[in-house]
Amino acid sequence: MTGDYRRFALTRAGQAIVVVLLAYVFTFLIISVLPGDAITNTLRDPQHGLSEEDIQRIVAFYGLDQPVIVQLLLSLGRFLTGELGFSLQSNLPVSQIVGDALPSTLTLATTALLIAIIFAVAIAYGAQYLPGKWAAIVRSIPSFFLSVPNFVIGLILIEFFAFRLHSFTTTDPHSPVATLFAAITLAIPVSAPLAEVLIASLDHESRQEYALVARSRGLSEARLFAKHLVKPSALPSVAMVALIVGELLGGSVITETIFGRDGIGTVVQKAVTGEDQPVLQAVVSLSAVVFVAVNLVADLASPLLDPRVKLRETKLKEKVGA
């Protein structure tokens, strides 16, 4: 690895950390200006049965009797050391709440991402190589996918596969088959922008002269696609994949609700209705970290995938001439 790349990677990683911190501060400020007083609303809710002593301890822990800026610094300091605090609703550590919900959501999101990529590649391949009329139909799939709301797809899949075909039962939403259908629900709208980017860049690449020359060398269409076109077409898609991770995080809230899954979505929903500030703060920050990390990976990968991105390389032609 060259020194240039290391410098580039370190700069990008530094920028990513700054973005995460800013996201944390921003979330904190947004939550703190929300109407409603966390202390009276939540802590003094007789339903929680907290003693005056407990309340005092929590107030002191979060600095709730102090100015917002002090609360922010306290909270930020703990965040940096990995300490996420306690839920105001259940008194459980936030890390435990999030930790319990995370695997389910991660499974769902990762499966959905894979399915979305498979869908997108299949659509793009079809758009490129199916005969005229069929290609036109395939090309219209992304806009169709994009215009059908996620919950409609979910409900149709449940109606058809759970109630009619009995492929899975809604009472066990975490079974592999149920997870698969939840992931398909989540993947369909997310695959649309990815497919569009892929179709556009495949169109572009297949018109390049090198594709023609490779064909003149006797490559079959399938080999041309796999060997020559996929990689350069994937370059813009890598950035797109990083962006759709954001949509996966957002979409999982709805999908989890429809399929009755426990996950980050459910946690968020409860935290919002219950004004559970530490939980909300943790989940939003976690999403920011995931989003930024995925984009960082995409950024770092692009010079490795595309040799032209590397900067300031001594060109061979300067050394040996024409």
Binding site: G132, Q208, E209, Y210, L212, V213, A214, R215, S216, R217, G218, L219, S220, K227, H228, K231, P232, L235, L305, D306, P307, R308, R312, E313, T314, K315, L316, K317, V320, G321, A322
Partner: protein, 564 residues
């Protein structure tokens, strides 16, 4: 004559309802070479693509017969045609820079060609690839093998492409303008190498080109195309020495190398006395003579790129008298573009002195430089990119007048009209946009834009390199006429020595930022002193018309010897 390797009979090609190739027939014998020649839009590349079956699916339809070794390949299903690709039928594309996959190494792509030999052992394949890379004259095959296309120069890439094409030993190579994107000296090396390989490996060549000189030099027979139809066909020698059709005659007349004095008569009217020996003044002697319109003295410019210093101009000096044409000749990277930018005041020299029409341009404020620029106008290389596509021609030509605040509105309109008339364009062009004009018309608009402020000096930066030969002749004729009528001084920047001989009085040959040779055009052409100048002269196809006309048959029969 051996049996025909390639036979094309009644080939017609249509894009939808538009027929672009009409009933074209020709044949090519084993081991022979044939050139399809014509201007852009003549259908030559379309025919090549039809033979290679690389026309876009569903968009183009080809009818007629294309037989390779007696077997009709036009109607063959792709599955049966594919084994012929590469093995029987090789393809060398026009622009080497875009003909290789930018994100895969040369080696990875070369393996595809090597695989056509049926060799399955990657180590053997690799050895074969390195051999062929060496064979095409690449100095460090291993390094090239591991390189990505963007790490190699255009000339090296074209060598790579030729290597990959000859590797599977096809019987026919279709080369589509294989050198038009390259520098002239590189162009000659590549063509020599291709000719030699062809001889060695007994490969037939179908050469697509717009350059009659190259076609005549490199091919046994010619097919002249215009608007998708064959105008004339026969042996190179016959067509070249005695063209039968008007079109072939005009193509022949437009080859700069064959008619070095074509524009001389019109040009020298202005300076009645032929004073060639004193026209060019060596920079050291050049004085503040009122006759000097451009005076560049010992100009040096250094750029630093990627921590490395590049001396783009190293003590460059030249001077041009009023009403004369001076040419700056050199290949890419020779510093000619930097010299022009310095002259135009777009860059400031590190040292040295530049004056235009007696006024020094260096060390002046922006406003003053702007004022000087009124006397100094530029015609750019590519008229397809130098005109704002959203503006109408009238506004494009008027822009310099608006810029310098010349005259009243009706006066400006009148001057725009005059300028358009002087470049031979009808008045109604003013209301059109560049997209509706041909390349030649666009370049005329660019010339009108330069002339509208009535400059003394016009810098012509490769003004015809983006144009067809016949269009080029029209533009050069116009420039000569304008020079005579308006007493313009030209600085003509070009890489094409044949062209320079036609239009320039004096010439400076640039190499790596230095003037290696300078003098009157006649002297440079008849007695070149520097080896680089000789190399440039050698690279002109058919540099000596006598040899071309008399000895072409001999040359065509023994190209390997002629170019060894």
């Amino acid at each position: 004559m051996s049996a025909d390797l390639l036979t094309v009979e009644g080939l017609s090609i249509a894009y939808g309802p538009t027929v672009v190739v009409h009933d074209v027939s020709f044949s090519l014998a084993q081991g022979e070479s044939l050139a399809l020649i014509g201007e852009s839009g003549s259908g030559k590349s379309t025919i090549a693509k039809a033979i290679l079956r690389l026309l876009p699916h569903g968009e183009a339809t080809a009818t007629g017969r294309v037989a390779l070794n007696g077997r009709d390949v036009l109607g063959l299903p792709e599955k049966q045609f594919r084994p012929l690709r590469g093995r029987e039928l090789g393809f060398i594309p026009q622009d080497p820079a875009s003909a290789l996959n930018p994100v895969r190494t040369i080696g990875a792509q070369a393996h595809e060609a090597a695989a056509l030999l049926g060799e399955t052992d990657p180590a053997v394949r690799r050895a074969r690839i390195l051999d062929v890379l060496e064979q095409v004259g690449l100095p460090d095959p291993v390094r090239v093998y591991d390189s990505y296309p963007h790490q190699l120069s255009g000339g090296m890439l074209q060598r790579v492409l030729i290597a990959l094409t000859v590797l599977p030993r096809p019987s026919l190579i279709v080369a589509d303008e294989p050198t038009s994107a390259l520098d002239v000296t590189v162009q000659k090396l590549i063509l020599d190498m291709l000719t030699e390989l062809r001889q060695e490996l007994d490969i037939s060549l179908l050469l697509i080109t717009h350059d009659l000189a190259i076609a005549a030099e490199r091919a046994d027979s010619l097919v002249v195309l215009k608007d998708g139809a064959v105008q004339e066909s026969g042996s190179s020698r016959d067509i070249f020495t005695a063209p039968q059709t008007d079109y072939a005659r005009s193509l022949q007349a437009d080859v700069p190398a064959l008619h070095p004095d074509r524009y001389r008569a019109q040009r020298t009217v202005f300076a009645a006395e032929p004073t060639h020996d004193v026209v060019f003044r060596p920079a050291a002697v050049a004085s503040r003579s009122t006759g000097l319109q451009i005076d560049v003295q010992g100009v040096t410019k250094r750029f630093s790129a990627g921590g490395k210093d590049v001396l783009a101009c190293d003590g460059v000096s030249f001077a041009v008298e009023r009403g004369r044409t001076h040419a700056l000749v050199g290949e890419s990277g020779s510093g000619k573009t930097t010299a022009v930018r310095l002259l135009l005041g777009l860059e400031q020299p590190d040292s040295g002195r530049i004056s235009v029409a007696g006024q020094s341009t260096s060390g002046r404020s922006r406003a003053e430089v702007r004022d000087i620029r009124r006397h100094l106008q530029l015609v750019y290389q590519n008229p397809f990119t130098s005109l704002d596509p959203t503006w109408r021609v009238g506004r494009i030509v008027r822009e310099p007048l608006d810029q310098f605040g010349v005259g009243t509105k009706p006066e400006r309109a009148r001057r725009v009209e005059e300028a358009l008339a002087s470049v031979g364009l009808p008045t109604d062009v003013a209301s059109r946009r560049p997209a509706h004009l041909s390349g030649g018309q666009r370049q005329r608009v660019a010339i009108a834009r330069a002339l509208v402020v009535r400059p003394d000096v016009v810098v012509l930066d490769e003004p015809t390199s983006a144009l067809d030969v016949s269009v080029q002749a029209g533009i050069l004729e116009l420039l000569s006429k304008l020079q005579r009528e308006l007493g313009l001084t030209y600085l003509f920047v070009s890489h094409d020595l044949a062209l320079v001989r036609q239009v320039a009085d004096t010439v400076s040959v640039l190499r790596k930022g230095q003037v290696v040779e300078a003098g009157a055009v006649e002297d440079i052409f008849s007695r070149p002193q520097h080896t680089y100048t000789r190399a440039l002269l050698d690279s002109i196809p058919l540099a000596t018309p006598a040899a071309a006309l008399g000895g072409i048959a001999a040359e065509a029969k023994q190209p390997a010897k002629a170019t060894a």
